[in-house]
């Protein structure tokens, strides 16, 4: 029974992705045949293809996965211009998406259509064999200044390079210790000095190399905006609506990993805006609005994060309706996205939804957005007013890398949290804690803050020392003006860490954003402050509610 529900969710989601593929293919087909496809246009589709493939694999739908893989390969090749013939590649692509459509439809009905991924992938391999005989001309989208040449560097290669840089860093550390030993134990001071000199040169080299590799990961947001522009244009024409798209902040630079993750998110959001937000021109005129609707895509940077706004002046949605859909309005995931209000009932709706992991298929689009953004370590806010419009705000980190972090230990496990959010640290004592109606508070500079025992939060086991706070440390965090105290066993000091995300197989882990290597062979789990502060606020509010 549970499995049936799971598989139903799969088909709903797979159907959505196949639809998105088909839709974007329609949008692109004419442009590609004419030889003018916008840069990044295929990346959006590739994103859908990859998502579909991994989803299908997870649910054991191997035929769908196999076919999606073939489609993904073809899309990547089209994006690189590495196909023998654009025409035949497009035909093959259409065929593949069509088959996927049939598969997903038929599979949900319980019978298996005659589709052979192996044969399809062989055809794809054939289409690629011609290599670079003819290249898809990638031209900037009309009227937009996306002129930057986009050397397509494979992310995996960059990450591998970064890994090697890390290893070099470890070598440098070893050399450092060696030269130190030489200095203290050897009488040959000239030799020791030379060793120091070599070490310094190595360090400079490693540093420059790391900067260079990191630099290659930086891209402009334009790259994410342009496919969204295409989607808006096409959907508006298709639905007989008049839409003006305004973009701001396309020159914001951010980590490629984040930018790539934003493709699907922004595309989904603008699609939602056109589909459900924007009214027909006559309807707009009747309600005294400009017949041409405006959708604004805006981005601004602050505090190491980029805030993205997708705003429309359409019909808006009543907040009750959003809740019925399983999508709570306003702060969904987080304080960092804006001035979250812990007491807001909507926050509780969102959080309990998250805690039980329930997924409501009907709110699928926005739910998917929330999940995708959470995976990037970000939050989503939604504000809507009937008749006036809807505004969705995303807040994602500019980079998943190089965070100045404070390291701490709880029950022998190493954690790290961004130093930006740590306001102060002090030793804890039993007398500090004030218990009130089930929740625990700590007084700090005249303010009572909720206490979060990290060991309990992550169920790390009592270890026979839970009863006393003595000897432990309190770490005060401040995330977008929401404060809390974390009780930890030991503080390890701070250092810049390369934070890396978990693999998709792990899924989203609430309050954790990834892991960072520390030294040769230790990993620290990295806390996501926005999601943590949200969790603390919610549990405090719940305790406050249940105990009168």
């Amino acid at each position: 029974m549970d499995r049936d529900r799971t598989s139903e969710e799969f088909f709903v989601e797979a159907g959505r992705l196949v639809e998105a593929l088909a839709r974007e293919l329609l949008v692109l087909e004419a442009d590609v045949r004419a030889g003018v496809a916008a840069p990044g246009a295929f990346d959006a589709m590739s994103g859908h293809g990859r998502t579909l493939e991994s989803l299908a694999r997870t649910f054991g739908a191997d035929v769908v996965a196999g076919l999606a893989h073939g489609v993904g390969e073809l899309l990547d090749a089209l994006g690189r211009g590495a196909v023998a013939s654009r025409e035949s590649a497009l035909d093959l692509l259409l065929e593949g998406v069509d088959d996927l459509h049939r598969l997903v439809e038929a599979d949900s009905a319980g019978d298996a259509p005659d589709v052979h991924p192996a044969r399809y992938r062989a055809a794809v391999a054939d289409a690629l064999a011609g290599g670079s005989a003819s290249r898809v001309v990638v031209a900037p989208a009309a009227g937009r200044g996306v002129g930057e040449s986009d050397a397509r560097i494979d992310m995996h290669k960059l990450d591998a390079l970064l890994g090697l840089v890390g290893e070099l860093g470890a070598v440098e550390g070893a050399l450092d210790r060696l030269s130190e030993r030489l200095r203290t134990r050897s009488a040959d001071t000239a030799l020791a000095r030379e060793a120091q000199h070599v070490r310094r040169r190595l360090r400079r080299g490693v540093h420059a190399l790391r900067e260079g590799v990191l630099d290659a990961r930086i891209v402009r947001l334009d790259r994410v905006f342009s496919p969204a522009t295409l989607v808006v244009r096409e959907l508006a024409v298709e639905q007989g609506k008049r839409v003006r798209l305004v973009t701001r902040g396309g020159d914001v630079e951010l980590d490629r990993a984040i930018a790539d993750g934003l493709y699907d998110v922004l595309t989904e959001l603008v699609r939602n805006a056109v589909d459900h937000g924007v009214e027909s021109p006559t309807e707009r005129e009747a309600s005294g609005k400009n017949p041409t609707a405006t959708i604004t895509l805006g981005a601004e940077v602050g505090g190491g994060r980029v805030r993205l706004r997708v705003e429309d002046d359409g019909r808006g949605v009543a907040s009750e309706r959003l809740r019925v859909l399983g999508v709570a309005p306003e702060p969904l995931l987080g304080g960092a996205a804006g001035d979250g209000r812990p007491g807001d009932p909507a926050t509780l709706v969102a959080a309990s939804d998250r805690a039980t992991g329930s997924r409501v298929a009907r709110g699928g689009g926005l739910e998917a957005v929330r999940d995708l953004v959470a995976r990037l370590g970000g939050g989503v806010e939604l504000a809507s007013e009937p008749g006036v419009g809807t505004c969705v705000t995303l807040s994602v980190p500019l980079t998943l890398l190089r965070v100045p972090a404070l390291l701490f230990e709880v029950r022998g496990m190493l954690f790290a949290i961004s130093r930006d959010v740590v306001s102060s640290v002090r030793a804890a004592s039993d007398s500090d804690v004030e218990r009130r109606s089930g929740s625990e508070l700590i007084e700090e500079r005249g303010e009572r803050l909720p206490l979060c025992r990290v060991a309990d939060l992550f169920s790390l086991g009592a270890g026979g020392e839970a009863s006393t706070e003595n000897g432990k440390q309190l770490l005060f965090i401040d995330v977008a003006a929401r404060r809390a105290a974390l009780l930890v066993d030991r503080i390890h000091g701070h250092e810049p860490l390369l934070v890396k995300p978990f693999g998709p197989s792990l899924g989203a882990v609430p309050s954790l954003v990834g892991a960072a290597e520390r030294g040769a062979d230790r990993l620290a789990l990295v806390i996501d402050p926005a999601s943590l502060i949200e969790e603390i606020a919610v549990s405090a509010a719940q305790l406050g509610r249940t105990t009168p």
């Binding site: 799971t6 739908a61 591998a160």
Partner: protein, 134 residues
């Protein structure tokens, strides 16, 4: 449950396979999906991860999920600290399979009768989704 589409014979029958021991059972992993076998490493447990996930390790700088295969399969005997990790490709992601022992490589058709049951990493991952989160 509806009939699920089967893969076109990607299991161990048509190619070389790596035979691994999980608890007391033997399984064949299609060699084409195997990246490398690494010796026992310090696996960092991840709180709130699904039950069958042993934790994460860093493989040349990439945070890699390690799956406790015995646990996912419901077998006794996970957790040997010196057990090796087999890195496999699953849907474009490299995932570590924590097994008890790596035995040998078998060739196609050499001993069909004694070939152990195939172990499909994608299915293991699929099963993870059904386990409770810790």
């Amino acid at each position: 449950m509806k009939s699920r589409s089967e893969p076109p014979s990607t299991s161990a029958g048509s190619e070389r396979a790596l035979v691994v021991q999980v608890a007391t059972e033997r399984y064949a992993l299609a060699l084409s999906g195997v990246r490398e076998v690494i010796p026992a490493a310090t696996i960092v447990p991840v709180p709130r991860a699904p039950d069958g996930i042993a934790g994460v390790i860093s493989v040349r700088g990439v945070i890699t999920t390690v799956i406790d295969v015995a646990r996912v399969l419901g077998l006794d005997g996970s957790g040997a600290a010196d057990a090796p990790i087999v890195l496999v490709d699953v849907a474009g992601e490299v995932v570590g399979l924590w097994v008890t022992r790596v035995l040998r490589v078998v060739h196609d058709g050499s001993e069909p009768s004694s070939l152990p049951a195939p172990l499909d990493p994608a299915r293991l991952l699929g099963r993870l989704a059904t386990l409770p989160r810790g």
